[in-house]
Symmetry: C2
Subunit: 197 residues, 2 copies
DNA sequence: TAATTAAATGAACGTTCGTTCTTTTAATAG
DNA sequence: CTATTAAAAGAACGAACGTTCATTTAATTA
């Protein structure tokens, strides 16, 4: 009925993010109640509102946080010497980053529809920024259709998060290798052994 | 307050399927209420229960119906003369079928998690049956990893439904052509102009 | 035409939802 | 040490949820 011993706001806020992310990814935003989140955190429902004003604000924070981190991570990658290596680098980066954060990815691709208009626009803008990285790389290739090729590649890569589970038959490195080859094949580069970037 | 003039059960049942499919695809199963569906159909809430016993039963019917049609449609395709043409045929079939039914596809890939365990198992079984068609075709190719290649191809193809809108820049036929080429490239077949199946 | 069945109504059920409020107490600042 | 703030509790709010039920009337069958 009162503040609990040892409680620190930032700790609880972090737990709220972690638990709500997992729950949203598992059941979908609409199917998760604030009470479910509170139970997972180990706290009363009303305590959640000390950290996030609404359920929607919590979702918005999770999504923008993920997209900003993703964009930043790519921008910190070294510049590749040519367009073929750049594409391979992107494929490897995307797979590597995404299979380690399956919940964030799933949420980002699935729950944009749960956002109110303004929030949706902001998130969509971030997603377009990231996708532009790939289309820029593809500009140096001779393709039937650049936009569709970009969408096809992103679909292929992102789809990996729907079935990848750590500790499965293949290591993350092996999966990265296989996908890198598949992506290069897609755009007509059939080098037998792509370089590991 | 009573049966309305001109009301026929099968008509209403069809409208329930059509409207609930669109609503579920747009907002997600959990975010759609029976009242929303009833409003879209133009009927009171309780009338829905003359046709489906629960909300879950309605979802199950939509999903199983879609998967059964999909499997049947593929089984009715003619047998291709060789494995390369078979893969191209599958890619074209999958794209063609899926971009004409974006709502069903989206629902089938997204709302399996909304199913109760028994229903989930049944649907998963149907999905595995369909995916087995592709892995069987890939058995005749020399691949780094057949299972992953199958998942990558399905991800790439199915992803098309997330952005394709009728009346866009490209026709369905052009999209089919582009994806067919991308899929063949993926498995190392770089024929400049794939046959149209 | 009379009896039966099918289709829809609107009110109501108990539950759960997101959120707010008051109160209590731990952590922190002066 | 005292005052203040931060973090939690638990009860309560009206609204919306899936579902049920008794009732009414159209369509169908005998």
């Amino acid at each position: 009925m009162a503040r609990t011993s040892g409680s620190i706001g930032s700790k609880t806020a972090g737990a709220i993010r972690t638990q709500s992310l997992a729950l949203f990814a598992d059941h979908g935003y609409a199917a998760v109640s604030m009470r479910m989140i509170a139970d997972a955190v180990g706290v009363g429902v009303s305590a959640l509102y000390n950290h996030y004003p609404t359920k929607q604000a919590l979702l918005v924070h999770l999504l923008t946080d993920h997209m900003q981190r993703l964009i930043l991570a790519w921008e910190n990658q070294p510049t590749a010497p040519d367009h073929i290596l750049a594409l391979e680098q992107f494929a490897r980066f995307h797979i590597r980053y995404h299979i380690t954060k399956p919940d964030e990815v799933f949420l980002s691709y699935m729950e944009l529809r749960a956002l109110e208009p303004d929030n949706f626009a902001a998130l969509n803008h971030l997603r377009n920024r990231y996708e532009a990285f790939l289309t820029a790389i593809l500009r140096d290739f001779d393709l039937q259709d650049r936009k569709i090729t970009a969408m096809a590649i992103l679909g292929m890569l992102t789809g990996a998060t729907t079935w990848y589970k750590p500790g499965g038959r293949l290591s993350a490195q092996e999966i990265e290798d296989i996908y890198a080859r598949l992506v290069l094949n897609c755009v007509g580069i059939t080098t037998k052994e792509p370089a590991h970037v």
